[in-house]
Symmetry: C2
Amino acid sequence: MSTLSDVAALAGVSISAVSRVLSNAPSSRVSGATRTRIEDAARELNYHPNFAARALKFSRTNVVALVVPDLTNAIFSELMRGVEETAAELGYMVLLARAESMQPAAATMARLVGEGRVDGVLVQVGDNTTTEDLAGILDGRVPAVLINSRREDHVGSVILPDEAGVAVAVDHLVRLGHTSIGLVNGLPTTDSAVRRRVGFESAMAAAGLPVNPDFVTSLGYDPQQGRRAMHVLGALPNGPTALVVANVNAALGLLVESRTLGIQVPGDLSIVAIHDAWTAENAWPPLTTVRMPLYELGRVSMAAIFDRIRSEEIDDIVVTEPGPELIVRLSTAAR
Amino acid sequence: MSTLSDVAALAGVSISAVSRVLSNAPSSRVSGATRTRIEDAARELNYHPNFAARALKFSRTNVVALVVPDLTNAIFSELMRGVEETAAELGYMVLLARAESMQPAAATMARLVGEGRVDGVLVQVGDNTTTEDLAGILDGRVPAVLINSRREDHVGSVILPDEAGVAVAVDHLVRLGHTSIGLVNGLPTTDSAVRRRVGFESAMAAAGLPVNPDFVTSLGYDPQQGRRAMHVLGALPNGPTALVVANVNAALGLLVESRTLGIQVPGDLSIVAIHDAWTAENAWPPLTTVRMPLYELGRVSMAAIFDRIRSEEIDDIVVTEPGPELIVRLSTAAR
DNA sequence: CCGCGTTGCTCAATCGTTTGATCAATCGCT
DNA sequence: AGCGATTGATCAAACGATTGAGCAACGCGG
């Protein structure tokens, strides 16, 4: 790891000259001869500017943290790709952080920012995270953007068109002739679950169908809760003939429980899940899903935190392009 | 974000005093009075030492990069947990990086270290990681530990007891009365696939069973390749009655293809997959798996890179404790 | 040939932290 | 009281990069 002085010594000039040449300062006033001498020296020594030194000088690291509840959630794959690609375009790096339980995560984030390791934070909160835990980080001193959830007391969020997504799912089922449709939702404390519930009710109303409260569960987005939901709904004497499952992972668990209960999918019960992932096409039956614009969610979120860092300006954004896309597989059938 | 000078000013002392008190230097020689004054001031200002400044001073960041081919692979969940927990114990942070987003990977890793962003690199090589991608770390200038693979030209690796894992799977199938057993393996270029193949052959030999080359595929670890493998094996006139699938993700794809082909699992075909993950118990039928010590793999890997960074000493290690553990679910049945 | 503008480079301060060297004040001992 | 040892603090030099200010050399017009 060579430094500016090493390069300067080799090229026989001062470190200032080297710095100016290598950072391509427009006002650099350097002769062509020294310029090439410096560039050659830098190449020979394989010079890379020291990250810590620059960060110290600029009090800026060009790093943002992306905090997600579970990195191995296939759903986040596209989100991360969007964030990372946009970050790279903007000259940023992404520090990926798991936040399984938020207590230590909040502390970790506070450290991350307090120690100046990152310039901003993108937070995707999960099922078992109340945004309360994040209060410390969201007090406005730290550039932060909430992904997939909103808070009254914090401006700066990017969310998905959840209502529209659920509407696409409901429409598909209605078109197939279903009238008795249930919703397997996330926890009511989750912001996205609230929006999905609203979307469900509007879509049902628009189709002229009643919402049976017994057909709506709000247990959570993970497979275990999907199982529980199926268990609850399966025990109903006259259950729904179709379900909108607000999360593909929950749908996987639900599918297993349906088999245990001897319920045929899609014969007895049609299922359409929100979010597409590789697990959906490798389930049996392969799941009909609504693909949400997660890649774009990532892109927009990164762009938003960038703006926030540079200009202090930030909005609450809904990603609308592209809209939710129905992917028909084998878990839905006509009634 | 307050600095040492802020704290010093508030406490009415020099920054040296503050630094010594807050870093708990044993030779600090500070009076109890000033000590508490400084500590109070630090707390009041919510002081956190600046990361960049310390990194610059120590030319050490206490960060290691963990490079994995695909973050959303459920298998890596435990691995990451092991790495992160051990890192935390050793005072390190983990910079998670997707290999996919590091194009070209060699250059990105070189930059990571060249710019002094990380002190070392943990690399989990995937199916499509090329030797070229690793070029930067093989010359030994960068502290690096290979996870799950070994190379002649690089010392510093931690691997799983792959042979033993496959043996556990084979034993289970043999005990169930199977004699016609196949192997759905990873690419022959993958180091772990080679070891699993060896383990398969030894285990079969130990059971006094012949290995039918037609029953062995080496297409890859992902679901798509699992499907292809099933397609190939399903076309055989007298196929195997049981399969060891070297990766749980491949097994998921294989399972779907088996349904498409009308092959009953476990009626016509028993399946045991290497690696346990939440997807295994949420498949249908729930997959019998061999749980490998991935958490410990993470712990040992982190410990190894730590040693390498501190002392330049490094070994090639096999994680043996705990051994592979059979988890019986519903994808295997007696013959 | 003097003064002025320009060119091409170097000096030196700065970011925040650590730490050996230094120094003033106090203490213990005779 | 005198003097060395100890205590409790500060000074200042790094770490590596950036950048405004400064300075020597040169060209050129008058």
